[in-house]
Amino acid sequence: MKKNVLLTFVLTLFIGSLFAQSIHITGTVTSAADRQPIPGVTVQVKGTTQGTTTDLDGVYKLEAPADATLLFSYVGMQAVEVPVNKRMLINVSLQENKVDLGEIVVVGYSTSSKKLISNAVSVVNENDLKNAPVRTIDGVLQGKVAGVSVNINSGTPGGQNSIKMRGGSSITASNQPLVIVDGMPVISGSYGQIGYSGQEIDALSDINPNDIESVTFLKDASATAIYGARASNGVMLITTKKGNFQKSSVNLNTSYGWQTLPAERLPKLMNAAQWNEYKGTNVLGVDTDWMKEILQTAPTSNTELSVSSGNDKTRMFISGNYFSQDGTVKSTRFDRYTGRLNVDHKLLNNLTIGGSIMMSYSKNNRVEGDQTLYGPLPNALSIPAIYPVLNPDGSYNEDGPYANPVAIIDHTINEAFTNRNNGNVYLEYKFLNDFTFTSKWGADQYLLREHEYDPITVAQGAKYNGLGIEGTTYVSNLVSSNVLQYIKSVEKTHHFEALAGYSLEKYASRNTYIEAVEFPNENLEYITSAGSIRSASAYGLERGMNSYFGQFKYNYQYKYIITLTARADGSSKFGKNNRYGYFPAASVAWRVKEESFMNSVKAVSELKLRASVGLTGNDGIDDFASLGLYGGGFNYGQRPGIAPTQLPNPDLKWETTMQTGLGFDLGMFDDRISLVADVYLNHTRDLLLKRPLPPSTGYTSIFSNIGELENKGIELLLNTQNIRGDFTWNASFNFSANRNKILLLYEGQPIDDQGRGGNRVQEGEPTGIFYGYVCLGVDPTTGKLVYEDLNKDGAITADDRQKIGDPNPDFTYGITNTFAYKNIDFSVFLQGVYGNDIFNGTNIYLASGIGEDNQLAFMADRWKNPGDITDIPKEGDQLKSSRFIENGSFMRIKNVTFGYNFSQKLLKPIKLKSARIYVSGQNLYTFTAYTGMDPEVNYYSNDNVVMGTDFFTYPQSRTIMVGINLGL
């Protein structure tokens, strides 16, 4: 290199002395995308061998004839020719080399140009992941992608959310997508051993969204079949940031926010006076606002530092992140520390090695959720205002119908600690020009430690003289994937791409759990001090997966595209008879725009038609479900016992989904308007159904391959650049409508009365309809609720139940509008769900008219005397009826962000490359007719059937946040 420069210099001098008109030229080469200088750009005088390269600051100097033309070229950028025209300062900005094939996206085991993809794939880039105060990956993806619905199940910090792609494909087996990080399937889901009902923690929350470069959603079989047996629910490919060859950048992001529960969504409960009137009591002097006692304005903060750097052989990305979020319910908090190192190194010209490691530690301070008698939120809602928080002597008052929530907040310890290591190493070897062999080995390790202590000062602890629980869960997943790829283009018309691969996975988990009681002192919180062990167990589980896969892609002149995919998966989950499953898929695309007859249609900048068909599988069931089993732990008289736990089903096999889809990509006016539209029909057969058995057999269910269901739907993604220039206005709109229908169940038997809302699985209906009694109102003479007697037999019995609601939405949507003027940008993101019903289970208690539970204020207007016309009964009953069904449609102002980017002029003197400050608001307002706290929550987490039911669930908070991003 140095030699070259020297040579050039000498030559320049020599030539310069020959041609007197030569002049000294200098300038800076920057990237058009981020205005950052680019080192190492080749600057050449056209038609000569004369040239130089830019230095670390992107600056070049050379001598050339005043009428020469300079040629600027750099790998990955479009080359530019600039006539000198006697100028001595020539600054150049280079565009990224996009040719006309669009951005490169990561798909299963390979990458592809977006324009050449023939199947249904959606991509979310890092820009879309910025600014959201929710710093977990599922939280930031909500509402962003057509066909991907993220449900925030509760407002619990670090809590588990539900992700569904194109509707739920299964009833009993998993409905969550397969999550792949940098090519390796990762541990996701909830592993907690202490039950928190819908407020489980999620292994995915260990990933820092700032480390993510892009998330690709593979939505149809042609895209997902390469992941075979686990692909029925779609695949989420997360790609983390890589370093840059040559270029260095340092980014510091920090933000701070305040969260509150929106006051307008809190239920209007009775105060003491109303309660006295309602109960006919006369308790004076106390009027406790229990909700106020347990709620707080909760701070949240996020700080991260990342460095992206490299030279021409090595690139690396290092980041560190600290995120903390207090919950709006006092004493809840989530803290997370993550670090990541991604390195790639070109050992030889044709051999690259690299690896990545992510380490994370998090601590989650939790409270018991909704399905318990010791949850602060349900208890605060349910204790009447006439009870004081404290007794006159300063002790907690426990006279109310439920345990004192303030005592729980002050003294109960519920902690979950996770340590996560996720790393991989790879080598990529190119040979014989067209072949690439990649071998990747990864390990994901997840250690969860749970610690609970209820001292004698809280109701639950008092019962046991102190209750302590210690649980540890260790999960590891080892993965190896080995792929041989062949890429060949013949005469720029035939483009082939083929890959074949093998992967193997070994999963193991170990749990220990100890529960003990009788603690001598409230400050001794570990079990070593406990008087007696109530429960102790340890458990181990292993599972393996063996897979072979291949893909063949061909396109003719980038015009006609075909993709064929197949995978064979073997899983230890299934019986020996059906251990392997085979999953083929195919798709075709026609890029109409490339046809010559489209040349005259200038308005259309892209038109691609797509069609796909394929088979995918689902193995998301318990291990060993095919075996007849005896379980241990059925002890009696302190000696061990065993009992039959499971009936055998040796023919148990994969659940398969036949997915067919059609779609088109349309770009208009230079892609100022782009529309991606898809329709699909997914037909699932051999449903892995935990079908109910007559309990008189001694078993209540068995896993069998019985039943069929279908999902069909439409997805639209519309991006527009409404105004360009100094003032820009971009809009993005996504829309998804899915129709789910159960086609076949075992002998038509419904799966009935699931969860507190009475969800039901029934042929001909969508999964999880609400099935119960139709409430006709209140009998004016008796004040009792009247129900429809469907079979007219004179009595209200189980046979009088009918469909009373459907928790599945008609459609969901997200709308983002982004405005920018010079240094100012402003964006508004609306997210909505339409046409679903909610079972307001909270009101079974808060509008019951019976018992000691606190009541909603409107219960004061209940039926009192014969002749009163009202729809509020004197006393409710507990029948799951239409009385509790409400319209669940909502539209949320999910995010509003206002940002300011400081100009280069201001930044240069202080040696900053970029600086941005912003203010952002999350969940600013929710438009809904729902009367409960939050229309989005579901008390039962990710259950496939128990859906749309609110039961004292922790609602999402409203967050106002300020932040600053600095680039050095």
Partner: protein, 445 residues
């Protein structure tokens, strides 16, 4: 050279592929085939069957609550609305508690049926050991059949284990057929079982006592006086054979004092506990107070009756609570299933309903009354003696799971509780109705 190196590396990677990753065996469960292959497996499975009796739907909770709550001994004061439904009839078929009782009882029946099915092929050192296992299994099966028939009337009679997906659906047998099957099981069991007493396990006395109880039920169900005679015989045999009533009534409920009166009880320990005290105790005493003694029961007690203070106490806020189960934290209270006092009252009831000797009936009742610190019964004719027996049972066995069966058995439930006769049977649970086409719902549901 480098290329060769890579080929070696690549082939090494590829050959790591092995089907070994797929050959994984469960480590927390064992396959059914190997579970019951020798006598120690049978012994483990037998303990597993007894542990089934600790289920919430059985003696872990609801066996000692529901018969009192569905009748007039308890009222619902808690938050679990399914208990409210048991109190306020009609009980919906989807009631989770009735469902849990049904499911738990059949789970236990399936556990013992598995043992009975395998037992003939399992080698034993001594025939006595094998007989004991068979006898205990038959006892448990009869106990569960009687439990089910008492609440639900006619139910499916399961005498074979469920081993695969065949014969899943079975129609109900009549209540008298279920009792007949229990009688036959127990008549076999009494000769198989030893006299030896092991805590929490059945012996020959247990089988005889249960047999006396089932005879009495069958007598009322069939009106066949022969069963009354057998009930009398069986109960008087036991009265003669066993050491006698516990001297102090309160000792019966104190886990620290060995019960001399117990004939069969379900035992608990720190890890396998019941939730009775927790459900009975008031909130001020760290309980859940799901149920409380009814005002009617409290009023009916004679204040001199020592059983009153043992059965019902008051917390600092003057809330009455059931006090037979007192270990809120540990839940190791003993749960009496069969005890000698019942034999006296079975004897008396069988006599009374067959117009037997008044003095003999009075004598039976008085044995129980004297222990309770009460004078002789004043009842002197058959009609008032029947009522005296009913009341004595109410006081003696409050919160022990008898009251509902006492009233239903004698046909008095509708009158005493003021409910429709058809609601004296619980509904067949919805989960059974929806999965078993051969099942018929009880009338009125």
């Amino acid at each position: 050279m480098k290329k060769i190196l890579f080929l070696i590396l690549a082939s090494a990677i590829l050959t790591t592929s092995c089907n070994k990753v797929l050959d994984v065996e469960p480590s927390a469960s064992i396959s059914s085939d190997i579970a019951l292959k020798d006598s120690s497996g049978v012994e483990s499975a037998m303990r597993g069957a007894y542990s089934g009796l600790q289920a919430v739907g059985l003696y872990g909770r609801n066996a000692a609550i529901i018969a009192d709550l569905a009748a007039d001994n308890l009222v619902w004061t808690g938050t679990t609305q399914d208990y409210g439904n048991i109190m306020n009839k009609p009980i919906p078929a989807e009631n989770a508690i009735a469902d849990g009782m049904w499911t738990a009882a059949y789970d236990v029946i399936n556990r013992v049926n598995n043992i009975l099915y395998k037992l003939p092929d399992i080698p034993y050192g001594s025939i006595a050991g094998k007989n004991q296992m068979q006898g205990e299994a038959l006892f448990i099966r009869a106990l569960m059949q009687h439990y089910l028939a008492g609440f639900f009337g006619g139910v499916p009679l399961r005498t074979q284990p469920t081993l695969d997906l065949s014969n899943l659906e079975l129609e109900k047998s009549s209540q008298t057929d279920v009792y007949a099957s229990a009688i036959s099981d127990l008549e076999t069991a009494i000769d198989l079982l030893s006299h030896k007493t092991i805590a929490g396990r059945a012996n020959s006395s247990s089988a005889k006592a249960l047999l006396a109880r089932v005879y009495l039920s069958q007598f009322h169900a069939t009106n066949d006086a022969a069963y009354a005679t057998k009930a009398m015989q069986m109960s008087s045999d036991l009265i003669a054979f066993l050491p006698g009533l516990a001297t102090k009534y309160s000792n019966l409920f104190d886990p620290a004092i060995p019960s001399t009166e117990s004939i069969f009880e379900v035992i608990y320990d720190k890890q396998n506990f019941n939730r009775l005290a927790q459900y009975y105790y008031s909130r001020n005493l760290d309980g859940r107070y799901e149920i409380a003694p009814s005002a009617g029961l409290i009023a009916a007690f004679d204040t001199a009756d020592v059983r009153l203070d043992v059965s019902i106490r008051y917390d600092e806020k003057n809330n009455p609570y059931g006090a037979k189960y007192n270990d809120v934290a540990g839940g190791v209270d003993r749960v009496n299933v069969l005890r000698l006092a019942e034999m006296y009252l079975i004897h008396a009831e069988a006599l009374a309903y067959t117009n037997g000797d008044v003095a003999a009936i009075q004598n039976d009742i008085n044995v129980i009354r004297h222990r309770a610190g009460l004078p002789d019964t004043e009842a002197a004719d058959i009609a008032s003696l029947k009522l005296a027996i009913e009341n004595e049972r109410r006081f003696e066995f409050a919160f022990e799971g008898h009251r509902w069966h006492d009233l239903v058995r004698t046909g008095r439930a509708a009158e005493v509780l003021g409910i429709d006769q058809k609601f004296t049977l619980f509904p067949i649970p919805l989960s059974e109705m929806q999965t078993n086409k051969k099942m018929q719902q009880n009338p009125g549901y």
